[in-house]
């Protein structure tokens, strides 16, 4: 159980990192850069793979709209 818990923690911290490395970071043209669409596909595959450690494999990146009340501040502010 403890081992499983650690594995889950490790996987989740990997998801945190990948959120940043795949959805964040500067996108510059490489000589051999994967297209953004490819990266998004990878992200979807990957989340499915990571979540498959559980029985349930939901679609983790369903379309999602930020709540207006949350985003208004940034949009208005910055």
């Amino acid at each position: 159980m403890t081992g499983d818990g650690l594995l889950v923690q490790r996987r989740l911290s990997l998801v945190d990192l990948l959120d940043r490395l795949l959805a964040g970071g500067v996108v510059v043209a490489g000589d051999l850069t994967l297209r953004i669409a490819d990266v998004d596909l990878i992200r979807i595959n990957l989340h499915a793979l990571i979540s498959s450690i559980d029985d349930q494999v939901p679609s983790p990146w369903e379309s999602w709209e930020p709540r207006e009340s949350w985003v208004s501040r940034e949009e208005a502010g910055a």
Binding site: L18, V27, E75
Partner: protein, 281 residues
């Protein structure tokens, strides 16, 4: 370099912010290779020489679907970013899997994107990123769709003794309690986000984690990144700790990660758009 090798690019910094050769000496990258600077026009790209066989387009596309490979690459990428930003230099992390044929390609990129990269370095100088996730822990708010749990807080199953009307009534009551709990958790998350936004230069909201990606705890109600000045870091983490202490009263749990290099803000224009992944125009 011959064509059997490629350059994997990790990050862009200013020339003066780049660590010396000694700091990079023990550092290894995604292929266990050493990391070196490629300098041009006052900017530096940190690169590592990697075998073409593992890092050309076809190989990368296949490897990126291999979780074990991806984890190794992602952690190596992060290791390089962390090593370079440890000295306080502003570092723009590049997206995973940015690869060049040779130094000429790297220099061309530094020239082509000089203005945007310089602006991003100015904007992010002296800042780090903190990640905050808020999860619902109250039993009422355990959204069945998110946990997939068939046991627990659901409405009681109809028993022979229960009339249809009683059953419907009890279901409605349970649903109302769920909605009430979820509303309270969302409210708490909004409050936490507002309090932390006040201490941040910029914020970015990621989609909440769904299902098992939310972790062992309940529904993920906030998944956000905050760009915070280094000198305000103590204030930010104290505020987060304070909010984390109060969170259980509202049926939520707060998790803080960081400090990160400003991954979530490096690719964004100055508008602070919370939406994902656009490149610098």
């Amino acid at each position: 370099m011959n064509h059997e090798e490629l350059l994997y690019a990790y990050a862009v910094t200013r020339d003066d912010g780049t660590p010396g050769a000694g700091d990079l000496e023990t550092l290894t990258g995604v292929a266990g290779e050493s990391v070196r600077p490629v300098r041009h026009l006052g900017l530096t790209t940190l690169v590592g020489q990697v075998p073409a066989a593992g890092f050309d387009e076809a190989a990368l596309r296949a490897s990126l679907e291999d979780v074990a490979w991806l984890e190794k690459a992602a952690r190596a990428h992060q290791r390089v970013i962390d090593a370079v930003s440890a000295g306080g230099a502003c570092v723009l992390p590049l997206r995973l899997a940015t690869v060049y044929r040779d130094e000429t390609g790297v220099r061309r990129m530094l020239a082509d994107r000089h203005a945007q990269l310089g602006a991003a370095l100015d904007r992010l100088d002296g800042c780090v990123e903190w990640g905050v996730k808020v999860h619902a822990v109250g039993s009422a708010g355990q959204a069945p769709a998110a946990t997939g749990s068939s046991s627990g807080a659901g409405p009681p199953a109809p028993r022979a003794a229960m009339s249809g009307r009683d059953y419907l009534r009890s279901r409605a009551a349970a649903r109302h309690a769920d909605e009430e709990g979820a509303r309270r958790e969302d409210e708490a998350a909004r409050g936490i986000h507002a309090a932390l936004t006040a201490l941040a230069e910029q914020t970015r909201i990621y989609p909440p984690r769904q299902g098992s990606l939310a972790g062992p705890s309940g529904r993920n109600v906030l998944n956000a990144a905050y760009l915070v000045r280094r000198e305000s870091g103590g204030r930010f983490t104290s505020a987060a700790a304070g909010l984390a202490g109060l969170a259980p009263e509202d049926g939520v749990r707060l998790e803080l990660t960081g400090p990160w290099a400003p991954y979530s803000f490096a690719g964004q224009a100055t508008t602070g758009q919370p939406t994902a992944g656009e490149e610098i125009p």
